[in-house]
């Protein structure tokens, strides 16, 4: 398996949906190729860091203002 072949399987590898026939090749490539091992690890960290960090705040005052504005618009559209 080449590095390009490995990258093509990366999304499925994260999802656990790699074709069983290819899985052993993918795993062997990770053991053999340090570059792809790093790409795998740092891509995994990229996903995790965005998933774990709320990068935009949603403070209570904003939430209350937004909620009130949404409900005002919706109830106005009914009448």
């Amino acid at each position: 398996m080449t590095c390009t072949d490995f990258l093509a399987q990366l999304t499925d590898y994260f999802d656990g949906t790699v074709d069983p026939k290819l899985l052993a090749d993918v795993q062997a490539h990770i053991c053999e190729c340090h570059h792809c091992e790093v790409v795998l690890d740092t891509t995994r960290q990229t996903i995790a860091i965005y998933r774990e960090h709320e990068i935009y705040e949603f403070p209570t005052d904003l939430r209350e203002r937004l909620h009130a504005a949404i409900m005002k618009k919706c109830t106005a559209s009914r009448s």
Partner: protein
């Protein structure tokens, strides 16, 4: 002897009952749906537009549109996916209206392979949380995702930030599953490459 059929246990999402009540004019039921999803819708809009005021307007317009079109919601998809789709369309429309924006559609900039081929193979050590404080890390993450073309940013936001499945992301964006997978791979690799500038193991120890 007749075959024994196992009972079909199809779980009904609690939103279904709320949507049905809301369709009959129950405002409290709709308000419950707003409460459940306002944060997510605001976050999706802010990720796509990168602008807080726009995100506030979009969240209001998306819920209003959902409220007015509730009868069109057939229940073939989750209510939340349907709502996200409305918010994504409103967000992309807002980007198109922005005179300063060069990047306006889901398709723009996605043909290029630029930035999607890994070039940086340094490990991230120590890990980003050890290297940066919360506020500094937040700045880096915001700045980095801002640099992605909207088509990639949107797919990454729905799939990886909001944790929608690939199928739900495809449905919310009106894309095929292979198109979502391909954009997601390139979005993740571009973000990884850009973050690597900050997080990679350094010999001198100086931050960029």
């Amino acid at each position: 002897m007749p075959a024994i059929q196992s009972p079909v246990t199809e779980e009904i999402h609690p939103d279904v009952a709320l949507v049905e009540r809301a369709k009959k004019g129950d405002t409290a039921a709709f308000e419950q749906l707003v409460r459940q999803y306002e944060r997510q819708i605001f976050r999706v809009a802010q990720h796509i537009t990168q602008n807080r005021e726009d995100a506030e307007d979009i969240a209001q317009d998306a819920f209003l549109k959902a409220y007015e079109k509730l009868d069109q919601f057939q229940g073939n998809s989750k209510f939340s996916t349907w709502l996200v789709r409305i918010a994504v369309n409103e967000s992309l429309m807002r980007l198109r209206k922005r005179k300063t924006s060069k990047t306006v559609s889901m398709d723009q900039d996605v043909q290029t392979e630029d930035g999607s081929i890994p070039r940086d193979f340094a490990e991230w050590r120590p890990n980003p949380e050890q290297l940066y404080g919360q506020s500094e890390l937040g700045d880096i993450l915001r700045k980095t995702i801002q640099g992605l073309p909207p088509g990639f940013r949107t797919v990454f936001t729905l799939r990886d930030v909001e944790n929608l499945s690939t199928e739900e992301t495809a449905e919310a964006l009106g894309l095929s599953v292979p198109a979502v997978k391909s954009r997601l791979l390139r979005a993740r690799l571009q973000l990884r490459e850009r973050l690597s500038r900050y997080f990679k193991q350094k010999n001198g120890g100086a931050k960029p």
